[in-house]
Amino acid sequence: MSDYKNLDPLLHSQLRLAVMSLLLALKSAEFVFIKEKTGSTAGNLSVQLDKLAQAKYIDVKKSFKGKKPLTTCSITKKGVLAFENYVEVLKGYIEN
């Protein structure tokens, strides 16, 4: 619990890690899908998606589905690398 300092702080958070893990396995996912699968609130999810998008870990596209606004997220190459790095550091901690 105390030795998480080398883990990417942006990923070392329950919801952001859940979003990244979900998007890693998908080409793209809509906001409602991520909200449902992570069990988060819309407000909290929006904030965390913004943080990930600002770091360019994910790509957020806003469009319309009929008359409803539609937010679609996908993981970027930078995001995949960051995630892989996070898992490597995590593995190091567990092996030690």
Binding site: H12, S13, L26, E30, T38, V87, I94
Partner: protein
């Protein structure tokens, strides 16, 4: 999901759980196309065999016109699926491209069937077996893997029988290799 500091094991648990969630969403509703094309090809094969064998009609190949409405239904269904999908996996894309590639190969085989001495049915069974086997492996659904093997066995038999009997072999191979796994997939999807 609340924001809090994570332990290493909690991190691993989240990663595993979320990847599992994404996997469960993959390649659902694939049974519709298997069942639609299973029945169309089955009717085409048996229909052609009966008409040609018993000379009921001088142009037995007209039975294959049933594929036209099936193509339209498949295109409309795929477009609706794409629009209605709230998450699209890499696997969905691979799955779509695999079957598109097989369709192109099947159409090419059909165009050149006179050059193959009309043994096109055996080759089509080989291609259908390839698609079914790979789909089964991709979505980790063994009945489709076995179905693919059954279609390949059907192809081997078809290569060794007269052209007219290839339609009969094709029909039975489709039942074992396509329709039975298709119904099992449908049942698995609804569970």
């Amino acid at each position: 999901m609340e924001e809090s500091k994570l332990s290493n094991s909690e991190s691993l648990q989240i990663i595993t759980e979320m990847i599992g969630q994404a996997k469960r969403n993959m390649a659902k509703k694939g049974s519709f196309c298997f069942l639609l094309w299973g029945w169309v090809v089955l009717l085409g094969n048996f229909g052609f065999y009966i008409i040609a064998k018993y000379q009921l009609f001088p142009y037995p190949y007209v039975i294959w016109s049933i594929t036209l409405p099936a193509i339209i239904v498949t295109v409309i269904y795929s477009m609706r699926q794409k629009q209605g999908s709230i998450a699209r996996s890499q696997l969905d894309n691979i799955y779509m491209h695999l079957w598109m590639a097989i369709l192109i190969a099947v159409v090419t085989v059909l165009i050149f069937m006179p050059k193959m001495n009309y043994s096109h049915n055996a080759v089509i069974l080989l291609l259908a077996g390839l698609g079914t086997f790979v789909t089964g492996k991709l979505i980790k659904f063994n009945p489709l893997v076995i179905g693919g093997l059954a279609l390949w066995i059907g192809a081997i038999i078809a290569f060794n029988v007269p052209v007219i009997d290839q339609y009969l072999v094709g029909g039975f191979a489709i039942i074992v290799g396509y329709l039975i796994p298709g119904y099992l997939l449908k049942r698995a999807e609804s569970e």
